[in-house]
């Protein structure tokens, strides 16, 4: 029997319960869902502050972390989060698994399930790969980043960090600038959705070669709200409340989209000089890993206005919240 079933308050009004089985992108989340993730993250931060930051909530749940791409912070963050909830964690790096022998994604996912995984955290270089995994996997799939498409846990930890940093905890009307290579960025795509959904005045800024296709999206709007796309960094940074710099991947030079790293740094690098145009209490973010001296100057990264370290810490708490919420939705119930 269930514990203390005589308490009526759980049935009363308040936050709506979670009903998603998978988290593949943020576009399935309602404002109420996002609010529940944020509240649950608050509770997880309280756990992280304890002498023993561990609770038995996911005891007996097996979490497999399957990464087809290199990663430090996201993979370790998910692993620490799962262990803090007492889940059993299995790590698979695709490079050293049967994937290198030619095993297909579907076969790998079926194998992982047969080995007892209840939840699958997955990163894959192909956009949409986690959707395929979710079709064959009997438990919950959590997208840890797929191609250029989505990185939901990153967008949610960025949102959590911003809400705890901005006065009043609200993004409504705040000028938020995403600076850099939006074209190849799943972090940008997921953030565009959550930030506009929360009412931010969103600006995407970078060289025009790295913003192709965004103008149309900006006009149509994400989450029902339009945003601004520009290559004019001075206009973008003017009176900004938040600036999020994105990593420039060196392989973009080879494809001719950027002339050189030095030219990018000169024209779009986030420096103290440029930040003067923003609000005095501007919040500086970066999803990591950083190329210091390219998209962000080393002194800006460690400036008191930077929340880059807080993003990493909050990453663990947000991922604990997501694992906890998703673990409650069993197969056969409301999907997606």
């Amino acid at each position: 029997m269930t514990a203390e079933a005589d308490r009526p308050e759980a049935a009363s009004s308040g936050p709506v319960p979670w009903h998603h089985r998978h988290l593949l992108d943020v576009d399935i989340l309602t404002a109420a869902d996002i609010d529940l993730v944020m509240r649950t993250t608050d509770e997880m931060r309280e756990i992280l502050a304890r002498p023993i930051p561990k609770v038995p909530a996911l005891r007996g749940t097996s979490v497999t972390i399957l990464f087809y791409e290199a990663s430090t912070r996201t993979r370790v963050s998910f692993e620490v989060a799962a262990k803090n909830l007492s889940a059993d964690v299995v790590n698979i790096a695709a490079a050293s698994s049967s994937v290198s022998k030619g095993e297909s994604l579907v076969d790998t996912v079926r194998t992982v399930e047969a080995l007892g995984a209840d939840m699958l955290v997955m990163r894959h270089p192909a956009s949409g790969a986690p959707y395929l995994a979710a079709e064959v996997f009997g438990g919950s799939v959590l997208n840890g980043g797929d191609g250029w498409h989505a990185h939901p846990s990153q967008a949610l930890l960025d949102l959590y960090t911003l809400r705890s940093r901005l006065a009043g905890g609200s993004l409504v009307g705040r000028k938020v600038v995403i600076l850099g290579d939006a074209l190849h960025s799943r972090v940008a795509r997921s953030n565009i959705w959550t930030l506009t959904a929360m009412g931010a005045d969103l600006w995407i800024c970078g060289p025009s070669t790295l913003l192709r296709g965004f103008e149309g999206w900006a006009a149509r709007g994400a989450a029902g709200r339009p945003f601004t796309v520009t290559s004019d960094i001075d206009a973008a940074l003017r009176d900004a409340d938040v600036v999020m710099a994105l990593r420039i991947q060196k392989e973009r030079m080879a494809s001719g989209l950027l002339p050189s790293l030095r030219e990018y740094a000169a024209r779009y690098g986030l420096t103290r000089e440029r930040l003067r145009a923003a609000k005095p209490d501007v919040v500086v973010m970066h999803p990591g890993p950083m190329n210091e001296g390219v998209e962000i100057a080393a002194d800006v990264a460690v400036d008191p206005r930077s929340v880059i370290t807080a993003q990493v810490t909050n990453g663990v708490a947000v991922r604990m919240a997501l694992l906890y919420l998703l673990a409650g939705t069993k197969s056969g119930e409301a999907g997606a």
């Binding site: 029997m1 269930t2 514990a3 203390e4 079933a5 005589d6 308490r7 009526p8 308050e9 759980a10 049935a11 308040g14 936050p15 319960p17 979670w18 009903h19 529940l36 509240r39 649950t40 608050d42 509770e43 309280e46 756990i47 304890r50 002498p51 023993i52 561990k54 609770v55 038995p56 909530a57 007996g60 749940t61 909830l85 906890y324 919420l325 673990a327 409650g328 939705t329 069993k330 119930e333």
Partner: protein, 188 residues
Amino acid sequence: MTGRRIMAGEDVRRATIRISHEIVEKQAGTEGLVLIGIQRRGVPLAHRIAEAILENEGVEVPVGALDITFYRDDLSLVAQQPIVKGTAIGFDLNGRTVVLVDDVLYTGRTIRAAMDALIDFGRPQAIRLAVLVDRGHRELPIRADHVGKNVPTSREEIVKVLLEETDGEDAVEIERSVAVRASGGTVA
């Protein structure tokens, strides 16, 4: 539907004051004493007991709040993850006498979870239990040290504690359950 009223506001007040006296008597003072209310109605009750101790002894006893959701033994059985209501223990538990405060003692499973949670915060010198209502039907070897009222019930009945802070008035009612037990969803 309103059930049969077994305690009125005045009864709740007297029981709370008596419990506060018992707690101090058992501890032979207030040295090392802390109160921790279990979410949700244990929290306002713990604050009321602390107020009564302040009035009678002139000592402010620290009060914390504990949410036992992550320690429940039925998390893998419930249909959806319960919404967590918040833990706030802003003091060290090592060597303290912790009095857990809850509204209703029933199966004892909440208290088992609460004790597991407390041990993660430190090593209290002792853990005691104060409840407003003990309705019996224990499923674990747990008993309360301080009880506002012992109420014999059947398993089909629901004991509802109402508090000013959460429900707008103080009272304890018993009603006949129809669906709550079967749904399994109304646990906290």
